[in-house]
């Protein structure tokens, strides 16, 4: 018998529901994000809180921890303004299931490590979307105002008046050690 990712997650959620009780899980409140008073367009308040709580675990970078970057808010804005991909709407459906599976994640890690990995993979994807990708809104602001991209050395999209250099930076092969030659393999 084979399982698609969706079926994996559904089964995880059902296990969670059976063990903890679906209504108590559905009503579980995630920790509120710092400065979480904004108006939401797509996410529910509860989803918003949950994503920001998740982001603190997945990306414990200073701007996330101190609320300078609102990961869930970025996702909400992205979905409200831009996205036209049905695949990304599936992501929102998964979010509900993942949330139900959350209390039993430690158990899943031991009993079904692959399902656990899928859940973590999903959490990573959605948190990274709201933090590292252009859904973070940093393409729309000046480089001086950006928070996330300078931390990873990403220069952002090219300015309108940008012109390419005559050539790309050329690496010096002598500066790159041949580790196969040196260490053997």
């Amino acid at each position: 018998m084979s399982f698609s990712r969706r079926r994996f997650i559904k089964s995880a959620a059902m296990v969670a529901g059976a063990m903890v009780g679906p209504w108590s899980l559905a009503g579980r409140e995630a920790r509120a994000a710092v400065g979480a008073a904004k108006t939401l367009s797509i996410l529910t308040r509860s989803e918003y809180n949950y994503i920001n709580a998740m982001a603190r675990e997945i990306i414990p970078d200073e701007p996330v921890l101190n609320g300078q970057v609102d990961v869930a808010g970025n996702i909400d804005r992205f979905f409200a303004m831009d996205n036209s991909s049905p695949d990304f709407l599936v992501m929102l459906r998964f979010l509900r299931l993942i949330r139900m599976a959350d209390p039993v994640l430690p158990l899943l890690r031991r009993t079904s490590p692959f399902i656990h990995e899928d859940v973590i993979s999903f959490k990573r994807t959605i948190c990274f979307l709201g933090y590292y990708s252009d859904a973070n809104g940093e393409a729309e602001i000046s480089p001086a105002e950006r928070v996330v991209w300078p931390r990873i050395g990403y220069g952002g999209p090219k300015d309108d008046d940008w012109w390419p250099p005559d050539q790309e930076v050329q690496l010096d092969p002598d500066a790159l050690t041949d580790r196969i030659k040196e260490e053997g393999a």
Binding site: S2, M81, F88, R124, S133
Partner: protein, 557 residues
């Protein structure tokens, strides 16, 4: 003219026209151009939106989700495989968001197709060479200049040279590339010769109309002709009066219909955010057409045929295949500033182990048959490629500018199936071996160029020294070897099959001209028609096949 949601009335009727082309990517655009050029009235229906170049580029996820139909969260699955597919879904299809790596249709694959009985695809057919040269000229295909390889691609070149294996500067259909590094979001500068800028624009000049945001719901066959199944079979055995009666019956069947085919589509505003629940507002459009050319990609074409109940001999959706790809990322020392997001993304490919060298002495069919592509990605892509969560992951991302990537792109020998709801596909044992060997070669190349650490496509496997290389072949998790596990997160932008060409109507949808065996006037002109995959980046291969199909269409019509 290009029409979108705001330009049409609900219930609009178009035609009758000579040809309705469904899909505007590599296959559909070429058909639209050459059929328009032949004087036929063409209407193109495209599911995605039209984005002029000034609306493209610069935004990693925003553009990716606008111009591509992804299956990140709904991947192709099998018993032990999961592949996320990326297919174009905008005016110009996959050519718009393609990395623009261009390979000619491999000669060795032409030989394969010839052996399958598709003799007009024989390398001996002189027309094919004319098509190849013509397309290259029209698209201005030329190799990337040596000084235009970004440092990430130079790593692949340096490593491959030290390893003593063949590499090449890729060819691209771009005029005066700005090297901004955002090819996969469409070309903001309009210099990529994608289908929107070329074939579709030329078709438009000759009177072809395109409707964007038009999701085709159904192809209806209004009547049958004497060459259509089952009448073609019946007529073989009929003589005299009964033959005349049958022919008259078929002729009478045409009465009252404006054309043989009616294509119905729902047009939505693809530039507006879709509602979270329910379907977006749509306007229906009906196209009456004498002939239909399917070019909605292997998933779209197969599903449309299945939805329209056009499935002779139950062949539709079968022989789906792809180029499953895994990604390896290497971290280099702080002195190597690579800025993998800057410059053209994929400019060097190691083709030493490619299927095109199948006849070389060194080629081992049990583990070769893959391409290595030098590439990295933008921040969201890189973050997903790197392992872990928490502080460890945050620290890795800080080193993004000291990382390079190599994709291992395997020419699978496995086939899956497209259904209306999902796609089933599994790697074969041989594919797994090829992917493992490809990963090993990629890792050697990285170490040859001084990599400190390699995050392989195998979940959790990090190599820190050349002594770790053997771990690739020993990799096993939960009793599953190598990549034969769903958590390996394979992906592919190259997909084929589902309505393939072949000699036998019992096992193939179309003949070697691309026309359906059973229903005349219904054509397949994209990757769906490919009976095998091609083993190389496939835009030009699809255009090449469509170019031939367009000529066959004109000759037959």
């Amino acid at each position: 003219m290009i029409y979108s949601y705001d330009d049409i009335k609900a219930g609009e009727v178009v035609g009758p026209v000579d040809v309705c082309v469904i899909g505007s990517g590599a296959g559909g655009s070429v058909m639209a151009h050459y059929l328009s050029k032949a004087g036929l009235k063409v209407v193109v229906l495209e599911k995605g939106a039209h984005y002029p170049s000034e609306e493209l580029g610069k935004r990693e996820v925003r553009q990716l989700t606008r111009i591509q139909a992804m299956t990140i969260f709904t991947p192709v699955t099998g018993e032990h495989t999961r592949v996320s597919l990326i297919a174009g879904e905008c005016y110009g299809g996959g050519t718009v968001g393609s990395e623009s790596v261009t390979w000619d249709f491999p000669q060795i694959v032409l030989e394969d197709w010839n052996k399958l009985g598709l003799t007009s695809f024989s390398p001996d057919n002189p027309r094919l060479e004319e098509y190849r040269l013509e397309l290259r000229k029209l698209l201005n295909v030329h190799p990337v200049e040596p000084l235009h390889h970004n440092p990430c691609n130079q790593i692949l070149k340096i490593g491959a040279e030290r390893e003593g294996i063949k590499w090449k500067s890729v060819e691209r259909p771009v005029s005066y590339c700005m090297r901004c590094g955002n090819c996969t979001q469409g070309c903001h500068y309009g210099v990529k010769n994608d289908s929107a800028n070329t074939f579709l624009a030329w078709a438009g000049e000759r009177g072809a109309d395109a409707y964007c945001g038009a999701s085709v719901e159904k192809i209806a066959i209004n009547y049958y002709g004497p060459d259509d199944h089952p009448y073609s079979e019946k007529l073989k055995f009929l003589q005299g009066a009964s033959r005349t009666d049958t022919l008259r019956e078929l002729e009478n069947g045409k009465k009252g219909w404006p054309s043989k085919f009616t294509v119905t589509a729902l047009v939505t505003d693809r530039k507006s955010p879709p509602p979270r629940k329910g379907a977006p507002d749509s306007r229906s459009i009906t196209v009456h057409s004498d002939q239909v050319a399917l070019a909605a990609g292997p998933l779209g074409t197969s599903r449309l045929l299945l939805k329209s109940k056009i499935n002779p001999n139950q062949v539709v959706g079968k022989r789906f295949t792809t180029h499953p790809t895994s990604f390896n990322v290497a971290r280099f020392g702080r002195s190597a500033r690579l800025n993998g997001w800057d410059g053209i993304n994929d400019t060097i490919e190691v083709h030493h182990f490619s299927d095109m060298y199948r006849n070389e002495d060194y080629f081992n069919p049990d583990r070769h048959g893959f391409l290595l592509e030098g590439a990295l990605s933008l921040p969201w892509g890189v973050s997903n490629l790197l392992p872990g969560t928490g502080k460890e992951h945050v620290a890795l991302m800080r080193d993004m500018n000291h990382m390079a990537g190599i994709e291992v792109n395997v020419k699978t020998d496995s086939y899956g199936r497209v259904t209306e709801k999902d796609v089933r596909f599994d790697l074969s044992e041989r594919d797994n071996e090829a992917m493992l060997y490809g990963t090993w070669v990629a890792a050697r190349i990285f170490f040859r160029a001084g990599a400190r650490e390699i995050f392989t496509g195998l979940p959790g496997l990090v190599l820190r020294s050349p002594a770790d290389l053997d771990k690739i072949f020993k990799y096993k998790r939960g009793g599953k070897k190598g990549f034969m596990q769903k958590q390996a997160n394979l992906y592919s932008g190259h997909i084929f099959g589902g309505a393939v060409m072949g000699v036998d109507p019992k096992t193939s949808f179309a003949d070697e001209t691309g026309e359906c065996h059973h229903i005349k006037g219904l054509w397949v002109s994209d990757g769906s028609a490919f009976p095998t995959n091609v083993g190389v980046n496939c835009c030009l291969s699809i255009m090449f096949a469509a170019r031939k199909i367009a000529d066959d269409f004109i000759a037959k019509t």
